[in-house]
Symmetry: C2
Subunit: 341 residues, 2 copies
């Protein structure tokens, strides 16, 4: 199967919203009058963003999901995407599964594939996604990182930390070695619990509906990919403010704790907090809004069928502070994921 | 150096044309009213699209050039691009050189970097480029592959085949082995000639000005990346036509033949024809236009300071036929580059 057969068979579908889709030198997009185009690119690399043996349908889902999550963070309505693929070879079963996972999520969001590239090389998936944001009275309705104000509440959507819990369980690094040598690992997660958390790692649900519902409500927003503390710091820096977070509220965001197979002591309290605060791969939204907008935030959450939790507040003093349920300052090292640190 | 320092130091520059550039979840682009957005993605992989020891400034140039060439093929005016980079590590000297080569070409075309991604992995460069095409009286002015008509002339811009000549010389596959074992290769290219052809391989000049000048003149166009015969076939298929090309005219497009160090017999006639017809990596435009537009084509060539050569014509009969200067049909196998064939 050649390069063009491969594209024809697995990736070419008639353009619906675009003026011209896959098959020419460029795709042509007709922007809706009165909107701005929101654009984001994400690249996924084997052994860095996914395991080599990942189900290709799952990988197709995730590759697009992490991009849609960036649109969600801006409050943009998904429109289209390009896909550049480096593949070790043209494996038809792999391509069929990958494209089915990709298109299932794309169709669910009305986001069409309009172009891209395929080449031979170490597996690498690069998607660039396009969405629209309305401009009202000359003012963009995009949610940016730079709008947080002292006094604003800090919210997080959905649940946090489960993806990292799954990753550590799969890597065998969830528990510390108890005996050596040879190393024996303390029990990892019960299978049903592993399956649930693994869903969060492999099939994140981009919060596209919530992002759109938060336009005109949230003062700042971003999506959580590298971990709550590191990502929230981007909002704080861009907005020139600081924040205090209540870790006892954050800890409740770990969905695994509600699972029937969860038992006290299964995962240490420190590890739970690590997963929630700096686990990464959550693809939830973190956002800020003034206390006067609490009802509007709940309305946005209800309209988008997405739970949101208030976990802290923005302050004038720069920096990010953690407190427990009694308001006592916590110390401790939590790091954000950095590809080159 | 961490991921965000790397972006800050080498890739973040203030947005000029975009409403929002590097640094948020999405970039925001304001399309000019009355235009369509032309979009193209190209991915470059080490050892596939470039040698591992390539000068990084040259690589930065080429990575953007091949994308601008797609905009040129559509007649689009460059606007902006995103860059996704997988890097084995954060090598500062490499990044400084790569970004300088990239931005030099970007600035020459008024095309600004508005976002992207960086990750750790086998070297991979994925650029998505955005341009604008006017829409006049409801009709897009984009040059497509599908508009060629029987009777149209076939043109090629600039020169062809030199990039492949350089590639074969660098690979040591230009000449056939004359003795074995051990193999001895017939003389490769003289150094000055290698340097000239290597420029074509490593620093292609995208025909952006010509593409724009051909709007409303050419009936179909594309850019030549995989070789003239294979690429032209895309126009023929998309337009439902065939073509005859005069190989004696095509052969003159090999710039190396005009070099002071060129000597008869240096490169076999068959090899010359192979380089011109199916060499690849040319990044010239192939386009069609009716005989009534010959003066308009020459005007477009003059206005864009880009030579164009008429090398054949479009016919109703499907397929691509090659003839010599006397109009005699040539047979012979010429293949186009295919990543998975």
């Amino acid at each position: 199967m050649g390069e063009f057969d491969l594209i024809e068979r697995y990736f070419k579908r008639p353009a619906k919203r675009a003026a011209l889709g896959v098959g020419d030198d460029c795709a042509l997009l007709r922007p809706t009058p009165g909107t701005q185009l929101a654009i984001s690119s994400d690249m996924l690399v084997e052994n860095r963003h996914f395991f080599a043996d990942v189900d290709p349908a799952t990988l197709g889902h995730k590759a697009l999901a992490v991009n849609l999550s960036d649109l969600a963070a801006c409050g943009a309505t998904p429109l289209a995407f390009t896909l550049a693929l480096a593949l070790p070879g043209a494996d038809e079963a792999w391509l069929a599964a990958f494209s089915s996972g990709l298109f299932a999520l794309a169709d669910a969001h009305g986001c069409e594939l309009i172009g891209g590239d395929t080449t031979q090389g170490p597996l690498n998936i690069c998607i660039t996604v396009f969405g629209e944001v309305p401009v009202l009275n000359g003012k963009s309705q995009a949610l940016l990182r730079s709008g947080a104000k002292a006094g604003d509440d800090v919210y997080v959507s959905g649940t946090l930390g489960d993806a990292r819990l799954a990753l550590d369980a799969l890597r065998g690094t969830l528990a510390l070695p108890t005996l050596a040598p040879p190393l024996e690992l303390a029990p990892a997660l019960p299978l049903a619990l592993l399956a649930q958390t693994r869903q969060r790692l492999e099939r994140p649900a981009p919060r596209v509906a919530l992002g759109q519902a938060l336009r005109g409500v949230a003062t700042a927003a971003l999506d959580l990919s590298d971990g709550l503390l590191g990502d929230l710091t981007h909002i704080l820096k861009a907005s020139g403010v600081g924040a205090t977070l209540d870790t006892s509220l954050a800890l409740n965001l770990l969905a695994a704790r509600q699972h029937a197979d969860w038992t006290p002591g299964l995962v240490s309290a420190q590890k739970q907090l690590e997963c929630v605060l700096s686990g990464g791969d959550d693809y939830e939204l973190a956002f800020t809004a003034p206390p006067s907008a609490r009802e509007a935030v709940q309305t946005a959450a209800r309209l988008s069928a997405t739970p949101v939790t208030r976990i802290g507040h923005i302050e004038l003093e720069p920096g990010l502070r953690l407190v427990d349920a009694q308001g006592q300052r916590l110390s401790g090292q939590f790091f954000s994921f950095d590809h080159f640190a």
